[in-house]
């Protein structure tokens, strides 16, 4: 896969970060290096290997459907940068 300037801009938008032009250039190079390195894995034929999503042989970890008290609202809101008495407050989002 080829990392382009456009792709770096796209990743920047996706990650909600803003890079300087210098950082953009170095990111382009770094990302390309990383991908090329990872491409080494493509040398292995995995067509008959099931993708692995979990490395531990554990399945079916469940919880009974029983209500447990929720956490105090004050505590939940404590770390919010902006809040009212009852709610988190964020910059206006309009669709």
């Amino acid at each position: 896969m080829q990392i382009t300037k456009e792709l770096v801009n796209y990743l920047e938008a996706l990650g909600r970060i803003e890079l300087t032009d210098e950082q953009r250039a170095s990111s382009e190079k770094d990302l390309q290096d990383i991908l090329s390195y990872i491409d080494t894995l493509n040398e292995l034929d995995t067509s008959n290997v099931e993708p692995l999503s979990h490395s531990f042989p554990v399945t079916n970890v469940f919880r009974e459907d029983e209500v447990r008290p929720s956490t105090d609202r004050e505590l939940i809101l404590e770390n919010a940068p902006e809040k009212t008495d009852a709610c988190f407050m964020v910059p206006k989002t309009v669709e």
């Binding site: 979990h54 554990v58 459907d65 209500v67 956490t71 009852a86 964020v90 206006k92 989002t93 309009v94």
Partner: protein, 476 residues
């Protein structure tokens, strides 16, 4: 040029489990903002989600009731997007291995007859929080009570071709979900929401047109209007030589038009990957069998049985079996009065009228389920007149009075003392010499007035036939 409409639906239904999908917070609707929230559903770092067992069972139940194949090896996936309704900045959902696949729901086709709407898949996911835009403060307030409430997303194939088919599909689906007890499907509380994918194409064309998606329309009436409006808009575009753009649109029901939503971001890339915090879920054949055997009688089957065993008309059984709440009332009433026909007639007649007049949904009926049966019994035993029965049922419907007690306390029983009835009628005759004169001089109609006056004097507590008979005895 004739066009045809192609519609597929994504229906989100909130499950009626007691707790959220990954934590023990209550799913109860309402509640002060952010009081049904804990470290897990507010996405605090270092917390670990644990799957609610009932969510898996409810999902399997739904799949089996809609003829799906159950996926026996399940995983959850992360759907990443950045929006304040999701505190973790991702939604745990299922992309690669949805729990149910390849089912169908049978509906009434617009062209007559039945048709199958195929279910592509049903997957489990968590609901998001609620955003309240505060224009005054120019900010957005976030309430995470709903965040983490379990959802099923039921994705149909594009098999519907009119607003009526869509409504029928939704009604059938809603009935099934209520019968199997997995969701209350209250649209006004958002526990049933539909996204409509719609495209048009020239009649007979093989390829689909470009589709648009309308999100979160939350009443049957609004869905019907949105479909009609969007169909017209797309046909107008094509007719004037323009193209339909693939986009998400919001239906503004008050204005009766849709508009394109400014895309949340240019970058819409969910970067799905397997959810590492939740181990895979394996569902055994035995488990599926066990849930299958415990399924209740489903709407279509119940309808057939009502028609065959109780000899009820198809239309009536269709209406009744479409709502589990009407079914419960019907079955209880038929049991008490011993006559399914009477029970169905009262539900289709008086009850439907009251529900319509008061704009009440069957699920919001508040009265004791035994009351209608008791009223019919009193009527059939001639203890009360038909008129009284209707009035008592109105009181039951509005105030949940106990019918037998109410009849007794308000002296509404039919008068059985013929002597007393005759006395009252004789007084009416004496008080209306003019009408009596007219009747005797051959004006047959005059007796109607006397019957009316007598019924009023008797407060409707004697059968009209009896009153007429006595009047003739006195006058002729």
């Amino acid at each position: 040029m004739d066009y045809e409409v192609v519609i597929g639906l994504e229906v989100h239904t909130e499950l009626s489990t007691k707790t959220k999908i990954f934590c023990g917070c209550t799913t109860e609707f309402g509640g002060e903002p952010n009081t049904h929230v804990c470290e897990i559903c507010s996405g605090m770092p270092g917390t670990l989600p644990v799957v609610n067992k009932s969510v898996i069972e409810y999902a399997i139940r739904t799949g089996l009731a809609t003829n799906c194949k159950i996926t026996q090896y399940n995983k959850f996936d992360r759907k990443n997007y950045f929006y304040p309704d999701l505190p973790k900045a991702y939604q745990v959902s299922q992309l690669y291995l949805p729990i149910c696949q390849n089912g169908f729901v049978e509906i009434n086709a617009s062209e007559g007859g039945k048709k199958k709407v195929r279910i592509h898949e049903i997957h489990m996911e968590e609901d998001a929080g609620k955003l309240v835009h505060d224009d005054f403060e120019d900010c957005t307030l976030v309430d995470y009570n709903r965040c983490g409430v379990p959802l099923l997303e039921i994705v149909s194939e594009p098999d519907m071709s009119s607003a009526d088919e869509v409504i029928d599909y939704l009604e059938k689906l809603k009935a099934i979900l209520q019968y199997i007890g997995v969701s209350d499907c209250k649209m006004q509380e958002g526990s049933l929401r539909a996204d409509v994918n719609l495209s048009v194409r020239k009649k007979g064309a093989n390829e689909y047109g470009t589709r648009t998606e309308m999100k979160n329309i939350n009443s049957f009436k609004a869905i019907k209007r949105a479909i009609e409006g969007e169909t017209e808009r797309q046909i107008d575009l094509l007719e004037s030589g323009e193209k339909v753009v693939q986009e998400t649109r919001r239906w503004d029901d008050s204005k009766g038009e849709s508009y394109a939503m400014r895309s949340k971001e240019d970058a819409q890339d969910y970067k799905y990957f397997p959810e590492p915090d939740i181990p895979p879920i394996e569902i055994s054949d035995e488990k599926i069998e066990q849930i299958k055997n415990a399924l209740p009688e489903l709407p279509e089957k119940k309808k057939q049985r009502y028609m065959e065993e109780m000899n009820l008309p198809e239309y009536d059984t269709g209406i009744i079996t479409n709502s589990i709440h009407l079914v419960r009332l019907f079955e209880r009433t038929a049991e008490i009065c011993g006559n399914p026909k009477d029970a169905a007639n009262w539900i289709m007649g008086e009850l439907m009228k009251m529900l319509n007049d008061t704009q009440t949904l069957p699920e919001d009926m508040k009265f004791n389920q035994d009351s209608l049966g008791k009223i019919i019994v009193m009527l059939n035993e001639n203890k009360i007149s038909r008129n009284t029965a209707k009035k008592v049922f109105e009181k039951v419907f509005s105030e949940d009075v106990e019918p037998e007690k109410y009849v007794k306390e308000n002296n509404l029983e039919v008068m059985t003392d013929t002597g007393a009835i005759k006395g009252i009628i004789e007084k009416v005759v004496a008080d209306n010499p003019k009408s009596v004169e007219e009747y005797k001089s051959g004006k047959e109609k005059a007796i109607q007035f006397l019957i009316g006056q007598s019924m009023r004097a008797l407060k409707g507590q004697a059968p009209a036939q009896e009153v007429t008979k006595i009047l003739h005895e006195i006058l002729d």
